[in-house]
Assembly symmetry: C2
Homo-oligomer: 294 residues x 2
């Protein structure tokens, strides 16, 4: 019986006790005990402490909810981890960034996993270099904090890996000091691209550098010149600049282009075929190591 079987057998949203025992038995990590009842007001955990007598029993404040930053991967819903899937399908509140255009990519990735009874909290963000996102994160964090204070666990969806240029970091920085917080790592689009391209990235003593195309030309050139392997993300309107630098450094023949890795509209194209005007933000260039193993 797998961990998933056990979860299904014992009901969604309930931490399987059998799983904990089994996990201990084989020496695996045990955590988040009691997570499922943490937000329940029906069985206050401190009732015997706060209610000295049955007659004088008063309602106790619910324990605080737990904040989850859920890495949901680069686009293919099957690239959620078992853990992200378990938490996503068991929390009462799900928050996610939305663009002002109404696009909600993070939610779209996991749309099939969200149940009607789960409360959804959109976090509108400007996604613009001209306007600061910080007031928007302030507002989103405040809304999330209210749910946590009321004892409800909240999962914040984050495309790819939450700690790598992730929007969740801004929520984390505002709330992790006040509420129990757990980050669930996700598949980064950087490494998913290597898998989709069939391109081993780094061997042995190689150094890998991950950098955004938004960097100025001199910094990009300097970093690429010394990287054994590199991944250049957030291409969009910076593509022509990056292509010129790669050409100057003699890296163009090694560079692989991919956009929207693992999504249904994924594109893998020769980098020299690309029209800069057609390169989306969700495109990246991968330069695999030239090291060949002995």
């Amino acid at each position: 019986m797998t961990a998933i079987d056990r979860q299904k057998a014992e009901g969604m949203g309930q931490k399987a006790e059998g799983m904990e025992q089994k996990a201990e038995g084989r020496g695996q990590k045990v955590e988040e005990v009691g997570e499922a009842v943490q937000h329940s007001t029906l069985n206050p955990q401190h009732s015997t402490l706060s209610s000295p007598t049955l007659d004088a029993r008063r309602p106790t404040p619910p324990p605080l909810g737990k904040l989850y930053g859920l890495g949901i991967g680069p686009g293919d819903p099957e690239l959620l981890t078992l853990k992200a899937h378990r938490i996503l399908t068991s929390v009462p509140v799900i928050a996610y960034p939305t663009m002002e255009s109404g696009k909600v990519l993070a939610r779209a990735i996991v749309a099939d996993f969200i149940r009607p009874e789960q409360l959804e909290v959109p976090m509108p963000l400007p996604f613009s270099v001209e306007r600061s996102s910080q007031p928007h994160y302030d507002a989103a964090a405040e809304t999330i904090a209210q749910h946590l204070a009321a004892g409800r666990n909240v999962a914040v969806l984050c495309e790819g890996e939450p700690m790598l240029y992730g929007s969740f970091m801004y929520i984390f920085n505002r709330l992790a000091g006040r509420f129990d917080t757990e980050v669930v790592p996700g598949i980064s689009s950087t490494f998913a691209s290597a898998a989709m391209l069939g391109a081993p990235l780094t061997y042995r003593n190689d150094v890998l550098s991950i950098m955004p195309a938004t960097l100025d030309e001199a910094t990009l050139r300097d970093r690429l010149a010394v990287a054994d392997a590199a991944i250049i993300i957030k291409l969009g309107r910076h593509f022509a600049k990056v292509r010129t630098i790669l050409d100057e450094l003699g890296l163009l023949s090694r560079a692989l282009y991919i956009e929207r890795a693992t999504m249904p509209n994924q594109q893998i194209r020769p980098i020299t075929d690309m029209n800069p005007a057609d390169v989306p933000y969700w495109a990246l260039i991968l330069i695999p190591s030239q090291t060949r193993p002995q």
Copy 2:
């Protein structure tokens, strides 16, 4: 109904047709159609082509098996992706590296998911800088190729992310040209460590460098001096060298130490407390970005 529900409902090891239709309906990626029957000799796919008459029907060679490189994450079995879990539990053959000492970490991570009827192929590797692993990979690839040639799908387990310093890359380089091959990305211990440490890695224009502690001192110093954020892996007996460099560069106060991230015996310790003799191979140092968002 989730993807997992659908899989369970339609049986382990069978590709759920309902899932494909659903996936198409919401614009998600569809792939590996027919994977489950690819290795079946009961219904040869080309029987009408190779058997002009019923009387002259001859046995046809089975279609080739498919090779999977499965990223199984850093240690917590729940950090497998839904996809890796589906493939792992449906292939007839599972291969994994083993140490000469008999230690089989990759298998231990997924031990609860392996079924008795699945064939296991250990791949003994020296895990030594003194002796080349290449003849061992030659032998392992040959064994795997025999299964693939016989029409059996083979999943090769790889801790962490297969394309990042992964042992699977050596199998990939030997077999991907001969057999249909798919790499399933996994959670890298590098990013899982950031989650466990609660340490956002990179913001906006930051460059992240991932490097092995096995590098020579000068190269390590040069790369660390220009990295906005860095992850130094494979510490082990190189810890003292790395600590000295971090001290020289003024990075020691920012450096975070973790060993065996997400495993039951995970340790997070102040870096200045560590005795170099006690640092295992599975330890890493993380230097998060100092950038603070506007």
